[in-house]
């Protein structure tokens, strides 16, 4: 079977992104923050449409209106939770209130992951083909409880398996039309990787951190495959520790010397570095992809993820 290389790149620039942020800032101030969902939509649209795979840009089709509805629901939800919390505090049941609040926040995590992936994937389009997330909320919830229970009884050691199980669950339920992702990472490898990274970082007074970062990235990318009817695209990282070192150090310097105004340039640099260092090869014929995933417009999970400040990639 003929093997082919696939090209991925980010072609945006810091100046354009900065202008978008400035305009968003103005509109946010004028609307006292209510513009936030629209601001987010324009920013994501810019980032997606400047990410180019095989000469075709991605598209983010989520809208401010959808995310605004989710935003309102998410806020109502949080307000209710805090109202419950403070009424318990008011009747002098502080300990119970704190316990319930933590339990609540913690039980929210799998629901937020489910909701945000469901929305974000349905809004990601390439060559007219929608991505999709086919995970089951109840199933993820039960699995998550089980993994967290194991993490607690092993005093956190199981955390590595929790991360990988969760990643595997989520990634393997992402579809691109009628193709699906496969993730081969396991908790054992991940545990050893982190143990090694942790100690070497300590020994080298933090310098190894960049190489640890490179290995984490590599572990994610190299274990990823895209599959359609047995034909695959394999992903390989070409990132280096030195590469991560100069990326992160320069980003840090940009932020410090521009008092944060240069943030857009650091986003662009990071996206360029990441996309340039994912190599893809395989026999999957992208021209054969078919539209198979439906649209999904409920952004509540996406907005909750924002409010709790979740990073998107797990």
């Amino acid at each position: 079977m003929e093997q082919k290389n696939f090209r991925l790149s980010f072609v945006g620039n810091g100046m354009d992104l900065f202008k978008i942020q400035i305009v968003n800032f103005i509109l946010n101030v004028i609307t006292l923050g209510l513009y936030y969902p629209w601001a987010k939509a324009t920013k994501l649209q810019y980032i997606y449409s400047n990410t180019v795979f095989e000469d075709h840009p991605f598209a983010f089709t989520g809208t401010g209106k959808e995310m605004f509805k989710g935003f309102i629901k998410a806020i109502l939800f949080i307000v209710l939770a805090y109202a419950a919390f403070f009424s318990l505090v008011y009747v002098q049941m502080l300990n119970l209130a704190i316990l319930l609040l933590y339990a609540f926040l913690f039980l929210m995590i799998p629901l937020i992951i489910h909701g945000s992936y469901k929305y974000r994937m349905a809004k990601t389009v390439w060559k007219g083909i929608r991505f999709g997330y086919t995970g089951n909320r109840a199933e993820l919830f039960k699995l998550y409880l089980k993994w967290v229970f194991l993490t607690i009884v092993t005093f956190g050691i199981y955390g590595a398996w929790l991360s990988m199980n969760l990643r595997k669950y989520v990634v393997e339920r992402i579809r691109v039309g009628d193709a699906n992702f496969i993730y081969k990472g396991t908790g054992d490898d991940y545990f050893i990787l982190n143990l090694k990274g942790y100690f070497l970082t300590l020994i080298t007074l933090g310098i190894y951190m960049f190489w640890w970062q490179k290995e984490l990235f590599e572990y994610f990318v190299n274990n990823l495959e895209l599959n359609r009817q047995g034909k695959r695209i394999y992903f390989r990282s070409s990132a280096t520790g030195g590469g991560f070192f100069s990326l992160l150090i320069v980003n840090f310097l940009i932020i410090v010397f521009t008092l944060g105004l240069g943030f857009s340039w650091t986003v662009v640099r990071t996206l360029k570095y990441v996309t340039e260092n994912i190599q893809m090869q395989g026999d999957l014929l992208l021209e054969e992809l078919e539209q198979a995933q439906g649209d999904y417009t409920n952004a509540t999970g996406e907005d909750l993820a924002d409010i709790f400040d979740f990073g998107f990639v797990i």
Binding site: V29, I30, Y36, A39, K43, S49, H56, G128, L259, L261
Partner: protein, 358 residues
Amino acid sequence: MIETTVQYYNGKFALPYQVRIEVANNAIHLFDSSYNTDNGIAFPLGQCHYVIIKDQAFIYLSNTSTDYIVVPKTDEHYETILTGIKRTQTSWYHQLFAQKWYTLFFIVVFLVVFLFLILDKIVPPLALKFISVKQEIALGNQFYASFTADSEIDSSATFVLQKFADELQLSKTYPIKVTVVKDTIVNAFALPGGHLIVYSGIIKQMEKPEELVALLSHEASHVNKRHSLKSIVSRITMSLAISLITADINGLSRSIIENVNVIRVLSYSRALEKEADDEGMNLMVNNNINPVGMKWLMADLQKTGNDIPKSISFLSTHPLTTERINDANGFAKQYVGMNEPLNNQMQSLWLELKKAYH
């Protein structure tokens, strides 16, 4: 009518079809071998959007972005389509985005200044109007309860100092309740609604009863002028505003803005101190007590302030600037002839207090 051939992705398969296009009546018309109509299928430019990658425009034909055509720069319709779509983009976002950099910069500066003025000068006084004296006292009582929960109160000194304060007319609106807390901190402060907290450390530093009157007058003026309530309201509105408008900004810019706010709060509180000095001295005069006590208080605190670690001192957050002392001095000069001694009751209460903290 010009017809050209471009690639069309239909949103069902990831492979292109060759289609012919025409632009007319603010719409892109697509002619596909499968569309056997004379006008093709029309896509109004108003529902299209585009992205330019290298020398190609990706023209999305609907807001689902699943069907699009790829128009190369060399295509005859390229400019027509792009300008046509741009003309339909009339949202605030697009209009702002089309502005020059200096216009945007000007708008940002204007908005920041405008917002600051509204939140700093207009919202707090308005909010204060809606909070009644009764609510303020209730709020102060709550603060007082949580404050006293973890401080050691000297109840006998509190009793004596309360009697001392009752000899003075400190407030027309608020019940002034003093509390002495056993602590070496040289400080005193006022809570909303009338609670004054006085640390034993500051009583120890004072040499004359007039200084105690000055201190109580100063703190009572904070209460009368609703200073703590003002600071609370101003701090809440500002931090709310900051978190709203920086929702989309990264951590560092946010922390810079927040730190600027801390400096603002500090200078604001210094302005309040100045006002409390002036009002306090007026209160002293109204009580027939020579305001020179304020100057003595400041001089004593300044003189002995050196022994005390700066970080815990009343002087570090509200330094006794030369300006404050000069002001007190100037004020006192108008009352040089005023020689009313404190009444006997106050004199003996003062001695009793000083006996406890010699």
